[in-house]
């Protein structure tokens, strides 16, 4: 019986692991490897400085490979996980035209009973758009194996422990802080904070994964339908200030017993209101060029 062999090859860099360490130690190790002189060729340099560095990938890959090792032998021996270090296989890297790592190629069986139904035997490249976690990787690789890879996320004991302690701690402190929790003003504060943060586009930055500030150091993102993380805090702050000065006018000022103090406060808060509002409008005009 002739099993066709399908090869799953992972090509990743040893430099990856080094890069995770601090730059100093990285230099030390490189220097040691080169007898005191750091040798960089153009390729190593490109790879070292590639913007797609994702050095945390290796543990995921190993986890999936280990999961595969647990399947029954007759299936296990049909698929192989392999890795290729850049140092050991520069020619292969060149042959495949790889500019960055890690890269996962799936080589389906080209002969025998395991040839995929579509008949495509050319290697498939794994798409990292779902991130570098082991779960999605196992899921997508399972499409190419006769039985799914029995990968399960390891139980995150630390997280459960944290949650349990948190709950317990909360229950204990609840007794002491219950006057605070039962105060309507606590809730009011929470409510308003949530509303302000939400209306400042917090969910936008969460969902789109916007950076806190732009690459060029600009904290205001170009474009009307776009924003950076810092805009959330700034805009929420502006809103909060405006809301607060308004509330001052409505809730605090009328209870002042001294007319002079009251007048001062009214002018003060009105002034704050007008100025901050102007700042907000000019910020909006930065975002929306054609604004009125």
């Amino acid at each position: 019986m002739r099993y066709s062999k399908s090869l799953l090859a992972l090509l990743y860099l040893p430099i990856c692991l080094i890069a995770a360490q601090d730059p100093h130690q990285q230099l030390v190790e490189l220097a040691k490897a080169g007898n005191g002189v750091i040798k960089l060729d153009s390729k190593t340099f490109d790879l070292l400085t590639s913007p797609k560095r994702t050095w945390e990938f290796e543990p995921s890959w190993n986890a999936v490979g280990e999961a595969w090792a647990t399947v029954p032998k007759e299936h296990r021996d049909n698929h192989f996980f392999a890795t290729l270090d850049f140092d050991n296989g520069q020619t292969t890297f060149q042959k495949l035209g790889l500019q960055s790592a890690p890269v996962v190629y799936v080589y389906p069986a080209a002969q025998g009973p395991l040839v995929p139904a579509s008949g495509k035997v050319s290697p498939l490249k794994y798409d990292f758009s779902n991130g570098f976690d082991a779960g999605p990787l196992a899921e997508s690789l399972s499409k190419h194996t006769p039985i799914p890879i029995p990968y399960r996320d390891p139980i995150n004991w630390a997280r459960y422990f944290t949650i349990a302690t948190g709950v317990l701690g909360l229950l204990v402190t609840l007794r002491f802080i219950s006057p605070i929790i039962q105060s309507r003003w606590t809730w009011a504060l929470v409510t308003v904070a949530v509303s302000l943060v939400m209306t400042s586009g917090y969910m936008f930055t969460r969902i789109r994964g916007s950076p806190f500030i732009g690459n060029d150091g600009n904290w205001v993102a170009a474009g009307f339908q776009n924003q950076f993380g810092q805009e959330v805090s700034v805009v929420a702050g502006i809103y909060g200030l405006l809301t607060m000065s308004f509330l001052m006018l409505v809730m605090v000022v009328p209870y002042q017993t001294s007319p002079a103090r009251q007048r001062l406060q009214i002018y003060l808060w009105s002034g704050v209101f007008v100025i901050v509002y102007s700042v907000l409008v000019s910020l909006f005009r930065v975002k929306n060029r054609g604004a009125s």
């Binding site: 035209g97 500019q99 995929p116 579509s118 495509k120 490249k125 798409d127 758009s129 499409k143 309507r184 809730w187 009011a188 409510t191 308003v192 949530v194 509303s195 302000l196 939400m198 209306t199 400042s200 586009g201 969910m203 936008f204 969460r206 969902i207 789109r208 009307f224 339908q225 776009n226 805009e231 959330v232 805009v235 502006i238 809103y239 909060g240 405006l242 809301t243 308004f246 509330l247 006018l249 409505v250 000022v253 009328p254 209870y255 017993t257 001294s258 007319p259 002079a260 009251q262 007048r263 009214i266 002018y267 009105s270 209101f273 007008v274 907000l280 909006f284 929306n288 054609g290 009125s292």
Partner: protein, 782 residues
Amino acid sequence: MPTAYPLPTNLSPATVANTASLIRIVALALISGAAIASRLFAVINFESIIHEFDPWFNYRATRVLASKGFYEFWNWFDPTAWYPLGRVVGGTLYPGLMATSGVIYNLLHAINLPVDIRNICVLLAPGFSALTAWATYMFTKEMKDASAGLLAAAFIGIVPGYISRSVAGSYDNEAIAIFLLMITFYCWIKALKQGSALFGTVAAVFYFYMVAAWGGYAFITNMIPLHALVLILMGRFSSRLYVAYSSWYAIGTLASMQVPFVGFQPVKTSEHMAALGVFGLLQIVAFAQLVRSHVSSHQFQKLLATGVISIGILGAMAFVLLTYKGWIAPWTGRFYSLWDTGYAKKYIPIIASVSEHQPTAWPSFFMDLQFLVFLFPAGVILCFRELRDEHLFVIIYAVVASYFAGVMVRLMLTLTPVVCVASAVALSTLLDTFVDPTEPEVVDDTRSESGASTISAPGTNGAAPSPTTPATTSKKAKKAAAAAAEHPTTLSDILASSSTKTAKPKGIYGLDTRIMVVLNTICMLAFFVSHCTWVTSSAYSSPSVVLASSNPDGSQHIIDDFREAYYWLRQNTPEDAVVMSWWDYGYQIAGMADRPTLVDNNTWNNTHIATVGKAMSSSEEVAYPILRKHDVSYILVIFGGLIGYSGDDINKFLWMVRIAQGVWPDEVQEPSFFTPQGEYKVDDNASPAMRNSLMYKMSYYRFVDLFGGAQAMDRVRQQQVPKVGPTLDYLDEAFTSENWIVRIYEVKKEDSLGRDLKSANAFAQGKKRKRSKPTTRRRAIL
């Protein structure tokens, strides 16, 4: 009591009340007028036309309803949609909108006003916006008072967040849904306040209308139970709550199940379980109250503890079991994606691909709500100050809706009403405080000139009209105040009564501060109005069927490519010619070109959409069998590269690829459409998969010729298109609109000689055929 400015004294309380109500009525009428008028920009700037995409379907359905009657509409099977699957329209839509238009249409025709159904559809949304203003007025009146109500009505009348979905021609479910939302909430609050089964029933009736009109009814379905739940948790259970909720839930749920599209969902899906659970909880709590009134408190404590805990555990277990067994459907993807925001992109790219399902950046909030966006937290705080049952509703609504609006641009619509209400409460409190002529007594002795300058006698009631004299003694004022306390009928008494609740003296001293704050407020309001008008006229009134641009001299230039192309289809193709396009244009093709389409904006069948995505993203040879199998005669693509129309198909192309990849991961792969550097390019660096894809070829076919040898430039992508344009073997260019926005291709028939069309085409162009290897019939015997 001193006042900051003189008040008329010779007014009877009846006059005051009558004038106030007259002013209210006039103000409401003017607000309605303003609400309607500002939505007519679209008609004035362009024409009376149905806008965008979904409204075209609604319009088409309404025409069927108007011409064939309700039963035919109910049983309408549309064979031209989702060809060849067809669509059972009657059972897969919310008929409220069409039924409303149908009723109005028949009513007008019954009184011999032969109004065109199109005009009813176009003007339905503005008309209902006036009703929304009224409903918001009523709702806010329950929260604070009539003046806050008027402010709220004015806000909702012109706020862009609502106008964006309700301009004339925007004939969508939301057009009537916001009115129904507000009126249902109003009835609920009313029922809760009064413990009235009648108002609960009215709320249920409007809830039914809402269910029939908009899928967003789930918002009400969860808002009201949430409110009830919070009330119970706060220990505010009352028989009023019990009556209101039970009557609303029982009648509302039964009624909502009569809508064919909803059917048994209210008892089967997770979205509706909260309402059911709270209903059950209310019964338990009510029962517990009943028992408490009959047994001693010690026994009761035990009974209550065991009872509530055991029932709670049983209920939760039952729910888990039912969900596990599949009797209760889990959250639908759309609903689920509101919580797990990464869910849609990963598992249902169709939903994630819709632009109105994108998260909202802060400029959108500010654009749609302007100064209301920071005023409404103040209103929420003010609600906390009093914290009546109905104020809790506003608070919950504000938090929930601001989260939803942050997750999806589209849900800005549900946030807008509560923002208007809360802002109106805040602003009217401000105005109450600063317009109130009453001046508090100055506690310290250094009484300023305010006392001397106080002119009017606040307490001059109708019974004792006294001429207003410049010098009124405080004694007289005191006396009058005492009289006013007995008969709180005059203007100032009404004003004063609001400030009597607090023990502390409250009020504003002086006139200048009043004038300053009021002027400031008026300026803000004026700015708000101008902002709303500008946003409405410039951003939200475009029909998106017709585009407008400016000529160098400033005059308006209308780009009418869509209708040009659709009418070309209508007049030049056989009636049963199937048109394939990306799903965005399905409803428009059905509505304007009247041709069967493969997919349309009702995105329920992922596989069918993925089929179109696959055809668009594959090479001609792969796509052709798909096209033939689906009887496609024409393919329509939108191309903006010539005039810079950014909403074109090349920009949407990655979604087609992604959706196709979801179904055929082996055949379509997203990374292959990027350059090795990971860029999305259409120029010389474009990847082979990109350049061979049907979409690319159809978009750029003969595009280079247009530049007559000069470098062709795609003005949307700002990239230079390859010098040698793509060639087409399986398609013929049939029509290209004036500005090249719409390009229509005809799918060639199979070659009559049985060749593949590529070689047939090569032969027709006189190219030498490569001598094909003849098939051998004899095989070597080994």
